[in-house]
Symmetry: D2
Subunit: 351 residues, 4 copies
C-alpha cells in the first residue's frame, strides 16, 4: 500500500487523486433522473465550454480513458483499410496500449525514431515513398503527442508546420493530448493555439492526468469527421451511460481555468525537482524539462535505493534512465525531501 | 432537458443518478496518492468483497461500461480465431453494441430466436451441427443475459442446465449480468447461486444500472482464464488509471447488501407499475415481469401521447410494444401518477 | 479416392476438373518472362474481354477463390467501421466462409430468413429501422447470390428492383456470382443484364465452378470504388504474382462464349436429373430448379444408400434434404444411371 | 509489354513462367471428377512427398500465394490476442503485404533493424523486456525469412540457435520460406536441415518463385498446431476448391528434386552476374550474394539507363541500390549480355 510504505509517489500524474472541485462536480450532478448517453445538460454544458476553448467547430466526445480517446480519434480519421499511421517510435499508441491500434483498428503504425520524442515535417515526407505501391500500406494519419512521452513539448509553430506538411500530402493530424494542459501551461498559450489554430484535425484531450477522477475527451475539429464519432465511440467501448458524471468532471477542470492552474503547479514542481538535482555529479537529465516529467540517468545503485522509498518508473533499464513525475497536488515540501534523498543516494553511488 | 419537461423517466435504469453511498465512496477514496491501474487498496478491498460474493476463485477485473465488460469477458474466453458465440437473437451483444463483437473481437455471433429472450440447452446443441466442418465457424462460447433484454430471468437451475450442456460440449458459459442484481433480488437467491454455483465461467457484473455512477466488473471464475485478463482489459480499452474511483463505487454497492436493496426497490416499483396496469383493456403485458422492466403493447395513439410527458423507449414499433423501467430511486408516487396517466391514455385510444 | 469408389460425383460443380481449353490457355501463357502482379498482356486482354462483357466501366480484379472474391468485393464497398451487410440467412458469406466476414472485414452480417434464398426489396427496407441509432450497426451493403445457394435465380428485373431499393436508401448492391454463368444461361440473358444493367455495384464472378482450374474475378462497376481495389486485393491475400496463369483461364472461358456453353450444359444435366425424378413418390424437390443444382427431400434410408455409391451433400439432415449438382462435363449417361439408382432407392425406402 | 520492349527481366523470380513439368502436372491432374478442398489423390500424394522431405510430423496445407502462406502460418501460431511477432525490419510481412498482419491477424510486428536482413538470438532476447507488463504486447512468434529479403541465408546452425532461443523463451519460430529452395541449394543441405531439424515450428514453403504457376504450402511441424490449420486456411481465404491443380504443381517440383535443380540454376545465374560485375569501379555489391538475388549500389545515371532496357527494381532510391534477380529459366547468354550492358553503363556514369 503506497499510503503506508512510501512518502509520496513520483511515478505518474495518475497516482494523484482527483481535484476536490471534480468530486464536488460529480456530487452536484447527482440530482435524480437525466437522459443517458450524453443527452443530459452537463454534457451539453461541457460541449459549450469546449467550443469556447477549441473554437466553434469543435465537436466533443466524452470518453473513458486515454487509450480509448486515442483509438476513437484514430478510428474517426481512418477510412480505407490499407491506410497507416505515422508516429514517433516512443508514441503511447505504439508502446503502451497493448497493441490496441493493431487489434481494435487493424492498422499498421509506421514508427519513426526521434531524438526527443518529437516528429518533424521531414519525418513525415520521408515515409511517403511507398505511395501508390499496392504492396505497401498508405499513410493517412500523423499522430503526435503533446506533451510527448519524453516530457518535451512542440511549440504551436512546430505543430502548425506538421499540420501543413500533413495536409499538403493529403494526411490528417492527430494529437494525443493526454497532457495537453501541461504543454499549454509550459508554453504559456491557449489550448486552441496548440490545436485548432495550428491545424490539428482530431485530438485526445486528457482529463485524468490533470485532476479528473476518470474521463477524457475526443475533440473533432473537422466538420466532415463529426458524424461518425458517436457510432465509433460506442463501438470502441467508450460510451458512458450516465455520461453526466464524466462531463461534470471535465467541466470542473474547464471552469475558471482550473486545468491551467493544475498544470502550472505540476510543471512548477517538476521544475523545482529538476533544478534541485541540476549539476549533481553522476546524474544526467536526459531530455529538456518542458512539462511535469523529468527523466534522468542515475548510477546503478541509486535506483533501487530510491525505489525502496519512492514510487517511480525505470524508463530504460539498460541506460539507467528513470522518470519522475509530479501532479496538480504535489507539495513543494515533498519535492524538497525527494531532492535531498536523491542527492544523497546519487552521491553515495557515483564514483 | 428531462428535468424541466418530464416528470420522471421510465426509459432506463441508467437514467437514474448514483446512489449517495456511491458518491460518498468516491469522495472517501480521494486521499492523495495511490498506485494507478488497480494496485491500490480500494481495488484490493473490492477483490476481497467479490470473492466473498462469488467464491474464492473469483478474479475481478474492474471495467468502464457494459459493452466493455462484455467484450472483455468474451475476449478472455475465445481462443482460436474461427470460434463463434451462441446467443439469443435479442442479446445486447448482438443488437445494441454497434457491432463491437464483430469489429473488436472479429467473431461471429450465432443468434437464436427465442420466445422470451431465454436460451435453452437444446438451442445450444442444435447449433453444433457444423462441428468439424472447416467451412463453418466453431462455437466456443454460449452467452446469456441475466436479467434478459426482455426483462425475464433464468432460474439458477436453468443456468446450471445451460452450463452443463455447454461444458458437456466443450463450450464455455458467459453471463451478461448488467442486471444480475435484479435477477438475484427477484429470485431471492445469492449472486453466487446464479453464477459460480451454476457453473458460469465468466460474467459481466453490472454496477451502473444498480446505482453506480460509472463502473462494471468482469468476474473470471475459471482459474485457467485469469492470466489473460489484465492484458486484454488494457487492449479492449477498459483499464482505468485511477481505478480506485471505480472500485470504491462497486464496493459501496457490495457493502451491507446495498446492491440487493437497490435491486429489490427497482423490482418492486416495476411490480407496482405492472399491477397498476394489469387487466387494462387494450394493454397487453408482453413478457413475464421478473425484474425492473415491463414491456407492454399499447394502442397506437397512446404511445406518442405518453411519450410527450414521460421518457421511455418504443421496443418494437411494428407491434406497438414499449418498455418501461424503474430504478433504485424510483418513487412510488411517481409510479402511481404514471399508472393513472397510462390508464387514461390507453382508455382514450383503445376501442 | 473418388475415382475408384464412386461412379460420378454429384456433390458440387467444383468436383469437376478444368475445361481442356482452360488448361491449354495456361500452357499457352507459359512463354518466358512477363511482369508479375497483373502487368502482363494476358491480364490486359482479360480486362478488355471483361469490359466487353460487363460494360466500359467494368474494372476487373483477378482473384484466387470465391471466398476471396467476396471478401475483396465487400471490403471495396465498406467504408465506416460501423457499417453492416444485409444478406439472406443462407448466403455463402454467412454460412460457409468460416466467419471471414467477421474476422477479415470485422463486419456484422444482418441476415434475413427467406423461403427460397432470395432477398426482396422489402427485406431491405425492413432492416433500416436502426438508422441513426448509434447503438446499432448501420447497413451499407446488400449482398445477394446469383445463382442463390438454393439453386434459384433472380430475374434481371428482380435484381434491378433490389439495386433501386438499395440506392434509394444509400446502400450498395453486391452480387456473389460464383455461378453467375448458370443464371445467365438459365435466364437466357447476358451477364451484363444481370449486373451492370441492373444497377449492381460490385460483383464476384466465378470461374472455378464454370470450368476454370482456379480463378475468379471481382468486377467493380462504380468508378469511385475502383482505386482502392488493388491495395485491398493484396491485403485480403488475393494477389497472384504470376497472374497471367489465372487471367488466361478466365479469358478462355470468355472466348466464344465457352462460359455460356459450360453453364448451359450443367443446367441441362440438372434439368434432366430433376425431370427424371419428378413425381417419384417419397421424393420432394424442395426449391425451383433454375440452375445446376436440385435439392430434394428423400426418405431417411435412401440417403446413406445412395451416398455409398455417389458423392453428394446432405443439405439439411433434420429434414432429409440433399443437394445434387452437375457440372460442365457431366455426361447424360451418368445422370441417367443416377436417376435409375435414385428411383430404386427411394422406392425401397418410401412407405 | 515486357515481351516486346525488354530483352529479359531481372526484376523478380516471379517474372518467370512455370516450369514445363508444372504445366504438364496440371494437365495430367485434369481427369474428370475429384473431391474438392483437398480430399483428392494429388493432394494426398503431395502430403506424402512433403513428409518425405520435412519429416513424418509435417502437416501440409496447400495455399494460394506467399502472403497467404505467411498469414495462415502466423494465425496458426498465435493464440492470445495481445501476442506479437518479432521480425526483421526488412521482413516481407512487415514491408510488402499491405498491412495484412495488422488487418487480417490484428497483430503488432515488433521489428528489428538488422545489417543484413538476419535476426540473431540476442535480437530476440532484447525484445522481451516488456514481458508481464500489461501495457505492452507479448511476443509469441519469431518470424524470419530464408532466403532473407536481402538475398542472404541463415545457416542451419543459425536457424537452430534462433529456434533454441525462441523455445527457451516460450516463443515459436516461423520461417517465411518463399525462397527456401534457393537457400537449400546455396547451402547444399536438405529442406529438412533448415526447418524440421533446426527446430522450426511452422513454415511457408514457396512454389511460385521456384517454378510453379501458382501455389505455396504451409508446413506445420508441431503436432499441437495441426488441428486449427484447415479452419484458418478457409478463413484466411487460402482454400482452393479444385486443390488438385495446385497440389500437382508442388508435387512436380518435389519430383526428382526439380526444386533443387531449379534453385541451383537460378543461384548459379546470379553468381555469374555477381562475378561479372565484381570489382567494377562505381558498383558496390551491397550484401553477400547467397541466393538468386544480387543487390548493388550504382551511379545515379546508370539506373534509368539500364531500366530503359531491363526490368528490375530500385531497392533503395536514396542510396542508389538496385536488386537483380534470376530464375529457374534465366539463360547464361542473357546474363552475359546484361553484364556487358551494366559494365558499359556504370563506366559511363561513374566519375
Amino acid at each position: 500500500m503506497i499510503e503506508e510504505v512510501y512518502s509520496k509517489s513520483f511515478a505518474s500524474d495518475n497516482h494523484a487523486g482527483a481535484h476536490p472541485a471534480v468530486i464536488e462536480a460529480m456530487s452536484a450532478a447527482n440530482t435524480g433522473d437525466a437522459p443517458a448517453y450524453g443527452d443530459d445538460r452537463w454534457t451539453g454544458a461541457l460541449d459549450e465550454r469546449m467550443r469556447a476553448e477549441f473554437g466553434e467547430n469543435a465537436a466533443t466526445l466524452v470518453v473513458l480513458n486515454g487509450t480509448g480517446a486515442n483509438m476513437l480519434s484514430l478510428s474517426i480519421m481512418l477510412g480505407r483499410r490499407y491506410e497507416a499511421i505515422i508516429c514517433p517510435e516512443t508514441a503511447h499508441i505504439a508502446t503502451h496500449e497493448t497493441g490496441a491500434s493493431e487489434r481494435v483498428l487493424g492498422v499498421k503504425l509506421v514508427t519513426v525514431p526521434t531524438p526527443d520524442g518529437k516528429l518533424t515535417p521531414s519525418d513525415i515526407t520521408a515515409r511517403l515513398g511507398g505511395r501508390g505501391n499496392i504492396s505497401e500500406v498508405q499513410p493517412r494519419v500523423v499522430s503526435i503527442s503533446e506533451v510527448t512521452e519524453l516530457g518535451t513539448c512542440y511549440t504551436p509553430e512546430e505543430i502548425a508546420a506538421l499540420a501543413a506538411t500533413a495536409h499538403d500530402n493529403g494526411l490528417l493530424l492527430h494529437v494525443d493530448g493526454a497532457r495537453l494542459a501541461n504543454a499549454a501551461a509550459f508554453l504559456g498559450c491557449s489550448l486552441r493555439a496548440l490545436t485548432t489554430d495550428a491545424g490539428v484535425d482530431v485530438l485526445s484531450f486528457g482529463g485524468s492526468k490533470n485532476g479528473a477522477a476518470l474521463g477524457e475527451a475526443v475533440v473533432v475539429l473537422r466538420p466532415d469527421l463529426v458524424e461518425a464519432g458517436p457510432y465509433l465511440r460506442r463501438q470502441t467501448l467508450q460510451l458512458a451511460s450516465k455520461m453526466r458524471f464524466v462531463s461534470a468532471q471535465l467541466s470542473a477542470l474547464l471552469t475558471d481555468d482550473l486545468w491551467r492552474r493544475n498544470a502550472e503547479h505540476a510543471n512548477a514542481m517538476t521544475r523545482r525537482l529538476a533544478d534541485g538535482v541540476a549539476g549533481l555529479p553522476g546524474l544526467d537529465v536526459t531530455w529538456a524539462v518542458e512539462s511535469n516529467a523529468v527523466f534522468a540517468a542515475l548510477p546503478a545503485g541509486a535506483i533501487p535505493e530510491l525505489q525502496s522509498r519512492y514510487l517511480f518508473h525505470v524508463w530504460d533499464a539498460s541506460r539507467g534512465i528513470v522518470r519522475w513525475m509530479t501532479a496538480f497536488d504535489t507539495a513543494p515540501e515533498d519535492v524538497d525531501i525527494f531532492i535531498a534523498d536523491i542527492r544523497q543516494s546519487v552521491k553515495r553511488h557515483s564514483g
